[in-house]
Each structure stands twice: as structure tokens, then as C-alpha cells.
């Protein structure tokens, strides 16, 4: 027995037990006991979900339109396909945003689609798509239109890119498409990659207008769920650091087109956007490093690292002042809440970086993360980027385009790699990510793409005080009397990033782990002994 339940290896066996042999073998590779955190074992991440397994995973379209491009509020987004995909991705991911100026339109409030009918499937949908683009232009006059292919589009062979190019020429606005059919790859992750490619090809570098600011950065992989990006922006502004573009939360099309003017890219969600960081470095020379604004320690460390990157004493001092001021506010909140949360347990199964970052917040609260895993991450997100050279590209990943990027002849800034090199020599790290497993405690469970069955077993065995997961699991978990914090939508709370966000998170977890609502579940007539007639009717209890 472990401290909070059975030891991890036993628990793993118990979870795997029910599976058919092949499934057992497959799932076995995706479920590890974190025996040696310093040297993580190899995990079978980014592999196909076994058919018939109840998974949290979505599709490539969801990753591309839903996660990466969808949040850009002033692009008019058209889903090319039957109605469902456009419908489901309508406002359902909580990318909050504010328009930049009166008169602008926030297209995230709209769902636009070609609503393909049977005859389009039979005769092709290109004309329908061209007409839809025209109608969208006539109706809204957007500055850019983005088109997303759904499953049948690829199969029937519609060439969305040609249609986009033709309409772009005709209408004189930026129009581009994404071949993010749902069957591409093994999860949303394929869609992220496709999206990164498209953003890089069709937006990055379009606007060379100079940005007047001393310290200019981009935040990559921050989607402004619950206003996280705004909290990060608030803190950075206090420090005197200017964000050009947040890719892609609460961001505008123009900001993305201009964001190659930054001095530095910092990466929040490594999984969804490391491609972009790499490509921008190759093309423009902008160095990147991983940051984490989730949790107090991560936030402090990230701020300091950015300051060190710029190296100005003034900035370094300012960052320390900001940290001190913010900590003075959040510390009493944490100190109070920690008296109730210390020793409680959590498990996290979600996304491609949150299952890692949120462990910091639980650590702040002195809670133990007993198990964690991603929904759609790759090995490097578990084991760290040093594993990258060793990852074998399988069939499902191979068909996602890898852009070949070279240095921009006129705009590559050679000073940046030089500065990077100098800093690296002084021990500063770039292009780094240590992965989740290194941070997790020894002998905790690491489970990639957790299945419904495994989740049920986990709760039965460990009954954690809280689980971070998504909407499809939430009520399963809560029926079992365990509160579930949705880490995709934050349960419509947040922000959880930065300092104020951390305080929000502590409060939410405190509420959830202190709630008495579960105690109401049992009626008094089922309480042992005191209600004599209760014994007659055990059958109704679980009815």
C-alpha cells in the first residue's frame, strides 16, 4: 500500500486487468509508474486510441479550429463540412476576448459553416465553399477568412486551398485554409501542428511595423481560458514588459501578423505550439524558452528568467518589486487555505500541458498529486525535450506536414542568436522543457490518454480529494463523490494564471475539497442503525 492507497504498480495492474490482451499491451505502454523521476521511463504517448475505449480525446479539427486558430477573434472562421463540426466548436471552448476598437466584430460569437448536404458530398463542395466565402465577405467584410476542412472534405477531394487562394485574389483580403480533417493524426495534437503551420505560412511576418517598447515578447501557447492571458499581461505590464502577441488567446489578427517583431518568444503550452517557436527562431532568429505562469513558483521563475534574458538591472529590480507586492497579496490567502488542503490528494488528466503545470498549484497548497497524464501530449511533454531525437515518427504523425523553414533573408536578426549563445554560455537555457515526469513524485502514476475505465478504478482505489479533468469525465467523477475541476474550461471560473489567478485557484480548490454536499448523498434513513426501517430496503439505495 502507498500512502494514499494501493502502491502504483498494483493499481496499474488492477486498471489493466479487465482489458483484452491487445488492448492491455497497448494501454500498458501508456501507463507508467514514475519509478525514477530524474530519468523518466519511455511512455507510449501520441499513439492511437484503441477503438472502443472511452477516451477524452477529440480530433484534429478540434485541435486546429477549436484550440489554435479559433480564438483569433477578428478572423472570420468558416467550417467546410456538414453542420456538426461548426456547431460544436461554437463558443464551446472558453477563449475569451475583447475587441480592440469600437466597430470591430468578434467573430467568435458566430458559427459559420457551409452546411454540406448530400449533393455536395456527391458532386463536390468547392463551389459551395467559394459561395460561402463570398457571402461571408458580403455580410461582414472581415480582414481575413479562415477555412477548416472536416472529415468528408478530404475524402471527396475538395481542394480548399485553391478555393481560398482564388477567393483571396478576388476579394483582396487574406483567406487561407486548414486541412484539419478529423481523422488526421491520433488526437487534437495533429490539429495543433496543422494550425501552427498555417499561422506561420499565412499570418506571421505580414506586418513589419515597428513596435515601440523596450522589452517585447510573445507568449506562445496561452489561450486565455478564463482570462489567464490578461492576468499574465497585467503582471508583465507591471514589470514593464510588452506582449506583442499571445498565440492565440484574446489575440487579434494584426497582432499575430506583427508578432515577429518581438525580442523573445516564451512558451506556455509546449505541446500545442513548440512548432511555432522553432519556426520563428529559424526564420527570424527569435530565441524561445519555456515558461510557466501557473503556480506561484513557476510565475516567479518565469518572470525572473525573462528579466535575466533582457539583462537590465532596472528590469530585474522591477520584477522583484512586482513579485514582492503580488506575493504579499496572495500569501495570506494561501496560508489560510493551506491549513485545510495540506495532505489532501489530487489527480490530473487533461490536455497537453495543464496536467503538468497545475501540479505546481497543488504543490503550493501542499497537496499531493498521486496520478497525472495528458490527453494528447507526446513523449517530450512527459519525458522532456531531450527525448526528441529518439522519438520515432509513426504513420499517423508522418502525414502531418513538417514545414521547411529557413532564415528570412532580410528580417533574420543575427543579434538574437548571438545574444542567445552568450547567455547559454552563462548557464541560461533555451528551447528547453523538462517534461512532466521529472516533476512528479516517485512512484506516482503517469497515465496517457486515460480511459473511462482507468479513471473509475483510480477513484475506487485512491478516492482523491479532487480531480482535474474535462467535461466528459466531470459528472462521472462527481457521481462518485469526488469534486472535479475542469481544466479546459476552468468550470467557467478563472483566471488561474499568475498571482491573482493562483489565489482564485486556491479558493476554488478549497471550496471543492471542503464542500459538504457529498454528505447529503445518503438519506438519513440509510444511516447505520438509527433508522430501523431502513434495513428493509437496501435495494433502493443504489437504484
Amino acid at each position: 500500500m502507498g500512502r494514499y492507497g494501493p502502491d502504483a504498480a498494483t493499481a496499474r495492474e488492477e486498471m489493466l486487468k479487465v482489458y483484452p490482451r491487445k488492448t492491455q499491451r497497448k494501454r500498458g505502454k501508456q501507463m507508467l509508474v514514475n519509478e525514477n523521476p530524474a530519468t523518466p521511463a519511455e511512455i507510449g504517448a501520441n499513439s492511437r486510441t484503441v477503438p472502443g475505449i472511452i477516451t477524452q480525446r477529440g480530433c484534429s479539427y478540434a485541435g486546429c479550429k477549436g484550440v489554435v486558430i479559433g480564438p483569433i477573434y477578428d478572423i472570420l472562421h468558416i467550417t467546410h463540412g456538414p453542420i456538426g463540426c461548426g456547431w460544436y466548436s461554437w463558443l464551446s471552448r472558453r477563449n475569451i476576448t475583447k475587441i480592440r476598437a469600437d466597430g470591430e466584430v468578434n467573430f467568435l460569437q458566430y458559427s459559420m459553416s457551409t452546411d454540406m448536404q448530400e449533393d455536395h458530398i456527391v458532386f463536390g463542395g468547392e463551389k459551395q465553399l467559394a459561395a460561402a466565402i463570398q457571402e461571408a465577405y458580403d455580410e461582414f467584410h472581415p480582414k481575413a477568412i479562415s477555412v477548416y476542412a472536416t472529415c468528408p472534405v478530404g475524402l471527396i477531394g475538395d481542394d480548399i486551398h485553391t478555393v481560398c487562394r482564388q477567393m483571396k485574389e478576388k476579394l483582396g483580403i487574406n483567406i487561407f485554409g486548414f486541412s484539419c480533417e478529423g481523422y488526421k493524426g491520433v488526437s487534437q495534437s495533429a490539429g495543433h501542428h496543422i494550425a501552427n503551420n498555417g499561422v506561420f505560412k499565412h499570418m506571421i511576418g505580414l506586418d513589419d511595423s515597428p513596435v515601440e517598447a523596450k522589452y517585447k515578447i510573445n507568449i506562445l501557447g496561452e489561450y486565455n481560458i478564463g482570462g489567464d492571458a490578461w492576468e499574465i499581461d497585467r503582471v508583465l505590464k507591471l514589470c514593464g514588459i510588452h506582449i506583442i502577441g499571445t498565440l492565440s488567446g484574446g489575440v487579434s489578427y494584426d497582432e499575430i501578423c506583427n508578432c515577429h517583431m518581438a525580442d523573445l518568444n516564451v512558451v506556455m503550452c509546449h505541446r500545442s505550439i513548440n512548432y511555432m517557436a522553432e519556426m520563428m527562431e529559424e526564420k527570424f532568429g527569435i530565441p524561445w524558452f519555456k515558461v510557466n505562469f501557473i503556480g506561484l513558483e513557476g510565475t516567479k521563475k518565469s518572470l525572473r528568467k525573462i528579466a535575466q534574458y533582457f539583462g537590465d538591472k532596472e528590469l530585474i529590480d522591477r520584477v522583484e518589486e512586482v513579485i514582492a507586492a503580488e506575493m504579499a497579496e496572495v500569501r495570506p490567502v494561501l496560508d489560510d487555505i493551506r491549513t485545510r488542503t495540506t495532505g489532501k490528494t489530487a489527480a490530473l488528466f487533461v490536455g497537453g500541458s495543464r496536467a503538468h503545470h497545475y501540479q505546481d498549484l497543488f504543490n503550493d497548497m501542499d497537496m499531493q498529486v498521486i496520478a497525472a497524464g495528458y490527453e494528447f501530449a507526446h513523449r517530450d511533454d512527459y519525458e522532456g525535450r531531450d527525448v526528441l531525437p529518439h522519438i520515432k515518427i509513426d504513420a499517423d504523425s508522418r502525414n502531418i506536414e513538417e514545414l521547411v523553414v529557413t532564415a528570412d533573408e532580410t528580417r533574420f536578426d543575427a543579434a538574437k542568436p548571438e545574444k542567445k549563445k552568450a547567455l547559454e554560455e552563462s548557464g541560461f537555457t533555451f528551447s528547453d522543457y523538462e517534461g512532466m515526469m521529472r516533476q512528479m513524485a516517485k512512484d506516482t502514476l503517469v497515465i496517457d490518454d486515460i480511459s473511462h475505465h482507468e479513471m473509475e478504478k483510480l477513484i475506487e482505489m485512491y478516492h482523491p480529494d479532487v480531480i482535474g479533468s474535462g467535461i466528459k469525465d466531470k459528472y462521472v467523477i462527481e457521481k462518485m463523490g469526488v469534486p472535479c475541476k475542469q481544466l479546459h474550461s476552468y468550470d467557467y471560473g478563472g483566471p488561474y494564471a499568475g498571482f491573482k489567478g493562483a489565489a482564485n485557484f486556491y479558493k476554488d480548490i478549497d471550496r471543492m475539497t471542503s464542500t459538504k454536499v457529498w454528505k447529503l448523498a445518503r438519506a438519513p434513513w440509510h444511516e447505520g442503525g438509527s433508522a430501523p426501517a431502513a434495513e428493509k430496503e437496501p435495494a433502493t439505495a443504489g437504484a
Binding site: R48, R57, G81, I83, G84, S111, Q117, Q134, K472
Partner: protein
């Protein structure tokens, strides 16, 4: 909010803006959840299943389990047989349902997977355990809407399962249409009050509004049993509520097992509920009990008491065809004025029927099938209304135009009452009147000048 929406209406032939429908498979999933120990299975890319589960979960705030064939590009090229067979094996082994209800997606439809053949193959290969069942329905996303998918799944139950054992039983089949679990419970309660023995199929009550008892039950104590589905072939009558959602299954059952049917509108409002009650009464050769008559009388009383406020209340409404038919009829009964009625589901016949319902009192009402919320919004900008009704997405229009809003239909993602209280039946009618008057008066209480705020209504 919706700042790009202007009052200038342009004809659109290709671009759907803010749809008033979604695609077929979610309807099949919802229907399959109404069968006891049934695992709905989405044969396609796993994103479909994820989207459907997410939306059903957000609507019901209850666990929604379903499996997927998790297509990758390979399956899309080579066909989904291997995926489905693997899925069937995994599902029966791990989740132990009594039945798997496979529905297709646009992906597997375009590929052209032959599901019956795959099921047959699976049976032959022994991956369907003894006594367990796999059935299927085709739910191409590029035809009809989510309601069509529901109807197709219901029809599949009949096709695969209904049997005539030869002896007609004194039982009525009730097909509820796509209504809430609470509605299904109310449909049963009314049948019980009238004293008719019935089989309700599907039945999501106690499944998607399952009680919290501290445990998780993958298959809650609810849903139509397979035995009941089979027995439907021996019932002497089918009452099918909702022509679009329930009609095809009723027709199929008549064809297959010679069970005659009455296809009624959803029992929303006085007359539609009357028709349901009367059909039960005639079927059961019984009398309508006083308690039910009193419920009816309370609804009439409430309508009469509120009629000055309901009179000529201009309503814009969107939703699903069956829902709209009954709700618009109810609006007419209560003296309100349906001004524009929109569904995303295609249906010329439905448009004609709606014209007839409103012909006498509201000949100018706009009815449009295969339309969208954006059109309704633009129309409202040109034609003032007093109230909007529709699913959660309509609230953005209501906010933009500062109009009272009554949530009705699917999905309702941002309120909880629809989980608990029926819209069907006489009680449902009272709930609708309450919702409408609350919405209208909440606005008045807030915005009217001091001297127009009334203590009494």
C-alpha cells in the same frame, strides 16, 4: 454582442450562420442512451464522439458514455471494419453492455462502411458474447439534422429488435420523441394516471437525470429494456409523439409487426396534450381521472388569468420541428403571436403544416425550415418582437436586442431547470406560461419607469 449583425438581410445560399440544428449522430447517441445497458457507438473519427458526449453532458449535467471507432487516416483509406471489430471486442469486455448501438458519421458514410456486414462478421468471429447484441443505424451528418439521427436510431431499435410473438398484448407503445428525461417521466406519469399499460421507448429518464447517490453507475437503473423493445411488436397500438422524431419508427413497426399507430404532435400545450391523453384514454378504453382533469383545469385557469399579458405577445422562436409545431400551437392557444419560426432542419412539409396552424390567427407568420439564427436575428431587427424562445445560443440575440428570453429545446447549456421539470403535459404548459410571464415581467420590473411598475398582475 453580435456586432456584425445588421438589419440588412442578404440572401444566402451557401453560408450557414449561427445554425439552428446540429448533425445526425448526436441524436442517435441520445436515443441509444435511452436503452437500458446500451452503449452508443460512434463509427468514425473520435472527435465526433467527443463533441456529442460533451454537448450532451453540458446539457444534462450528467455522465454521458459512448464509444468510438477512433478512425485515423488509415481507417479512412482502408475502411473501418478493423476498428469496429476491435471496438466491439473492447466494449463488451471492458464495459459489459447488453447491447451496442452503432451509428455512422459523415466519415464512415463517405467511406461506405457496410456496418451490417461488419456486425455479421463480428458475430461470426465470436467477439459478440452470447446473448449480447450489436445493432446499427446510418446517420449521415450531411442529411437532415440531429432530429433525423434520433429518428433513425429509434427506427433501428424496431428493425433489429421488435418481434411479434403472435399474441397481441394489452400494451401501448409510446415513442416520446426527442424530449428531456423529465418530459419522458411526465409522459409515463400521464399514461399511468390514465391507466394504460405501456412501453416507452426510448426512455432517458433516470439515465440522463440520474440521482446522486454517491456511486457511479455506468448503466443507471433506467432506460427501455431490450425485452421491452422486443415486446413492442406484440403491442396493440403505438402512440408516436413527434412526427419527425417518432414517426419513422412507428411506421417501421407497423410494417414489421403490424402494430397500428397514431402519430401525434408532442404533447406541449393544451390541445396537443389533450390529444395524447385522449389517445391513451381511447386506447385503454378507460376514463381520464379527475386528478389529471384538474391539472388540465389549472392550466386553463392560468392561461385565462394571464391572457391579457399573453395576448398578441410577439414571439420569435427557433428550434426543432416537432418542438416548434407544438410550441407554436400552444402560443396560438394562449393568444400570443408567433412572428417568426425558424428551424435548421430541412422540411418543406413542416413549413406547410405550420402555415396551417397559424392561418387563422397569424397568417403573416414567417416559417422557415433549413434556416438559421442569424436570419432570425436580422428579421427581428426589422420586425419588433416582445420575446425570443429557443436554445441557449439564442441568448446572445436576446442580449443584443435586450429582449426577454425563454430557453426551450436543445441544447440548454446554461440553466438547470430543464433537467428537473417537464415542458410536456399540462404541468409543462404551466411551466411554459410561468417562464414566459417571468421573462416578460422581470424586464418590466427592471426597466419600466417607476410609475409603471405594478405590484399586482
Amino acid at each position: 454582442m453580435l456586432d456584425g449583425t445588421t438589419s440588412e438581410i442578404r440572401e444566402r445560399k451557401a453560408l450557414r450562420i449561427n445554425p439552428a440544428k446540429t448533425c445526425q449522430p448526436i441524436g442517435a447517441m441520445y436515443a441509444a442512451l435511452g436503452i437500458n445497458k446500451c452503449m452508443p457507438h460512434s463509427h468514425g473519427s473520435q472527435g465526433c464522439c467527443a463533441y456529442h458526449r460533451s454537448q450532451l453532458t453540458r446539457h444534462h449535467k450528467d455522465p454521458v458514455v459512448a464509444t468510438t471507432s477512433s478512425f485515423t487516416e488509415g481507417a479512412s483509406v482502408f475502411g473501418g471494419m478493423a476498428n469496429l471489430k476491435t471496438a466491439i471486442n473492447n466494449i463488451f469486455t471492458i464495459y459489459e453492455p447488453d447491447i451496442i448501438a452503432v451509428h455512422t458519421t459523415c466519415l464512415s458514410e463517405v467511406i461506405g462502411d457496410d456496418i451490417p456486414m461488419i456486425i455479421k462478421k463480428s458475430a461470426e468471429d465470436g467477439i459478440i458474447p452470447e446473448g449480447k447484441l450489436v445493432i446499427h443505424t446510418n446517420t449521415p451528418s450531411f442529411a437532415g439534422s440531429h432530429v433525423t439521427g434520433f429518428a433513425n436510431q429509434c427506427t433501428a431499435f424496431v428493425k433489429y429488435l421488435a418481434e411479434s410473438a403472435g399474441e397481441t398484448k394489452n400494451v401501448v407503445n409510446i415513442m416520446p420523441g426527442w424530449v428531456e428525461p423529465a418530459d419522458m417521466r411526465e409522459i409515463k406519469r400521464i399514461a399511468e394516471m390514465v391507466g394504460v399499460e405501456y412501453i416507452l421507448a426510448p426512455d432517458t429518464s433516470d439515465v440522463l437525470d440520474s440521482p446522486h447517490d454517491g456511486k457511479y453507475h455506468m448503466y443507471p437503473d433506467g432506460g427501455t429494456t431490450i425485452a421491452q423493445l422486443k415486446a413492442m411488436g406484440d403491442s396493440f397500438l403505438t402512440i408516436a409523439l413527434g412526427p419527425l422524431a417518432s414517426g419513422p419508427a412507428a411506421t417501421e413497426l407497423e410494417k414489421k409487426c403490424k402494430v397500428p399507430n397514431k402519430v401525434l404532435e408532442l404533447p406541449i400545450g393544451v390541445k396537443a396534450t389533450d390529444e395524447y391523453v385522449n389517445a391513451l384514454r381511447l386506447a385503454g378504453d378507460t376514463t381520464v381521472p379527475s386528478a389529471l382533469e384538474k391539472e388540465r383545469g389549472r392550466l386553463i385557469d392560468m392561461i385565462s388569468d394571464m391572457s391579457q399579458y399573453l395576448h398578441n405577445l410577439r414571439v420569435a422562436i427557433f428550434g426543432d420541428p416537432d418542438h416548434l409545431t407544438s410550441m407554436v400551437s400552444f402560443l396560438v392557444e394562449m393568444g400570443a403571436k408567433p412572428m417568426i419560426v425558424i428551424t435548421g432542419t430541412p422540411g418543406k412539409k413542416w413549413e406547410t403544416k405550420m402555415q396551417e396552424i397559424c392561418a387563422e390567427t397569424n397568417p403573416d407568420t414567417q416559417f422557415l425550415a433549413f434556416s438559421d439564427i442569424h436570419y432570425m436575428h436580422q428579421w427581428i431587427k426589422n420586425n419588433p418582437v416582445d420575446l425570443i424562445m429557443g436554445n441557449t445560443f439564442g441568448k446572445y440575440v436576446a442580449r443584443t436586442e435586450n429582449l426577454p428570453y425563454v430557453r426551450f429545446g436543445f441544447p440548454i447549456l446554461d440553466r438547470v431547470g430543464h433537467r428537473a421539470f417537464p415542458t410536456v403535459g399540462y404541468a409543462g404548459g404551466m411551466r411554459i406560461i410561468e417562464k414566459i410571464t417571468d421573462a416578460v415581467f422581470d424586464k418590466r420590473d427592471r426597466e419600466d419607469p417607476d410609475h409603471e411598475v405594478e405590484l399586482v398582475l
